[in-house]
Symmetry: C2
Subunit: 381 residues, 2 copies
């Protein structure tokens, strides 16, 4: 069992109507003003935007707004947010939306306390030393961004999708109200399920040490995500399933599943970030393409854990059976499992490998994931 | 799924030798002085006491000491600690030991910021509004006290074993070094296993709503505790098993297993506190007596979950089979399963019920646990 530090100070307010208290939560945390960040308008189709504004006003908070955050969120928007926060000397940032919005507010929070360009943090030219306090109200469960210090942002000019990670941008408080997630499309429900599963299996398969509790925790999360996804495909308004899905997705990447593991890494995310950066594929869709290919390529490096996965998740025996069953399940819920299904040509594999190897270097994985190995993996997709 | 707030800001430093940094951890958290609290001397048999003092000195911390904390820790000692902390205007408290030491420092931390008598908090005559920051170095894994805001203290004059619970006394930081736990006796290993399992199954069986993730999480913890206990009985120095045991025990009562559940309570702990208060039985030993009796009495109230338990933990079918197997396992590892085995006469059942019903009232459980029902349960033990 590897030494580790576990520290996750994010407070979660989980349940019906809790978003209506967000102004009070921010005020009670000691802040007087906030930058409200959201997406391209879906929160205005429901009452969420109005409820949020009403809550901020009721708490007597000064606020400014930044809208237009898109899936695979852009550094240009982050820079816009930083400017508004700095110009207005805002004391906190609030994201209302899905993982893209949460990731954007984290980058804004860090950039607002930095004199240089925020992209410096993503290319490891600078280290985050302080950040504005982050609050989120989640409308999608998938990334666990509501309870971690990670943010992934795309630089549209350089076609790089890079990340930051520090507890300094962990949300102070996040609201998870499963009711707000009921309008998510079936496509995005599937992508979200893939993403949550991906967060757990990366280290589950790549770690060289697997504490017994952590493997079981991962399996508990995967089984819950799969079971509730199937319920939600049939009935999007099943509150219990929506709640279970959301809380399991939060657990999938809040630090707990990896504590005590040794040597694990995130190769599937690494390669997927390239698909999103180059083709704007939804993150979960990119992952369901990469994961089965990577599993087929990697399986001999950790046969015991692949066999365990097959047995615990599907009641099957061999590594291959487990991989095939997971791939089939991704297909069944409507997420692509080949490059072709996402409209990406295999002729582009060289270009993809060239892009992905940049992340591989930033993450210190180039020994195992060089251009050639990344090509080998993508040829299986 | 029930609405809930999840907030656990305790930082865990897990791993070999981390106790040697405790002075630095306290200093880095912004404190200059500390009350060091420990038990009856076992930390002086190893190098732990010397290492702790060296670490406090190296960090330049002023410190005072309180020793002599016993199993089923006493309010008189807590009062001693409060006096030392107040007299010396100490800024923090550090417990080095097991759950009893951790519970004691939490009560000291709350009492040091209160003008009245600390027992007021336990009898709900006063509410904890502030507390000194708490730090712990754990030498025993069982209570999860290192990562929650609970403390159970015995009032030796009134023969009451009562509790407090507030995030204000959650440790700021706890060190878990599995190596420090290798000298625990086989008896206390067994009692610890029972305690950790008890923490999870109370709400698992009594809640009227069972989110899918939480039930699976509980099962992951129980399986890990059982598997690693059996390894440790054979080889107390198995670091991996010791680490897995410790981390699973921490998860058993840090707020996660109960999040989203509805209507759960802790009847086994409620009754056990009476056994400890009246007969000074080790907490885990008391629990292994109460639990099988309570399960036999309660099983019809939640048959589905009892059958699930039998199936998931033991691969068995019926509620009765699951209960019997758990009882056998408690016996197998060396923890008592009848009052008789603990030297307690059934003639005392009236007296025990009279004591336990006090806690039942404090916890708001008197509707289901009056003197007669508590007697009915104890007659099965």
């Amino acid at each position: 069992m590897n030494d580790f530090t576990y520290y996750n100070p994010t407070k979660i307010e989980f349940g019906k109507g809790k978003e209506k208290n967000i102004g009070k939560y921010i005020k009670d945390s000691g802040y007087e003003s906030v930058l409200l960040v959201y997406g391209t308008g879906s929160i205005k189709k429901s009452s969420l935007y109005d409820d949020t504004i009403a809550s901020l006003k009721e708490a007597g908070l000064k606020y400014e707004e930044l809208s237009g955050i898109v899936s695979n969120p852009l550094i240009s928007k982050v820079r816009d947010g930083i400017k508004i926060a700095k110009d207005n000397k805002l004391q906190a940032v609030l994201g209302v939306g899905g993982g893209s919005v949460a990731d954007s507010v984290k980058a804004i929070a860090a950039g607002a306390k930095y004199d240089g360009d925020v992209w410096d943090f993503f290319i490891q030219k600078a280290v985050i030393k302080e950040a504005l306090p982050v609050f989120t109200v989640m409308t999608l469960a998938a990334t666990a961004s509501e309870m971690n210090g990670n943010a992934v942002i795309t630089n549209e000019l350089t076609q790089q999708k890079f990340s930051i990670g520090t507890v300094l941008v962990n949300p102070v408080l996040s609201v998870i109200n499963p009711e707000l997630m009921a309008t998510v499309s079936k496509d995005y429900l599937a992508y979200s399920a893939v993403d949550a599963i991906a967060h757990t299996i990366e280290v589950y398969f790549t770690a060289t040490e697997h504490p017994k509790f952590n493997s079981r925790l991962v399996e508990a999360i995967i089984k819950t995500i799969m079971e509730t996804t199937e319920i939600l495909i049939k009935d999007p308004n099943d509150y219990e399933a929506r709640g279970d899905f959301a809380w399991a997705a939060t657990q999938a990447l809040n630090g707990l599943t990896t504590s005590g593991t040794h040597g694990g890494n995130f190769p599937n995310h690494m390669i997927e970030h390239t698909l999103s950066a180059l083709y704007n594929v939804p993150h979960g869709a990119g992952l369901s393409i990469v994961i089965p290919a990577w599993m087929k390529w990697y399986k001999e490096q950790n046969t015991a854990q692949f066999e365990r996965f097959a047995k615990e998740i599907f009641g099957l025996s061999t590594a291959d059976e487990g991989i095939n069953e997971l791939e089939s399940w991704f297909s069944k819920i409507g997420s692509p499992v080949t490059l072709d299904q996402a409209g990406i040509s295999k002729d582009d594999i060289d270009k993809m490998a060239e892009n992905a190897v940049q992340t591989s270097k930033l993450w210190g994985l180039e020994e195992n994931y060089n251009e050639q190995t990344i090509k080998d993996i993508l040829h299986k997709a």
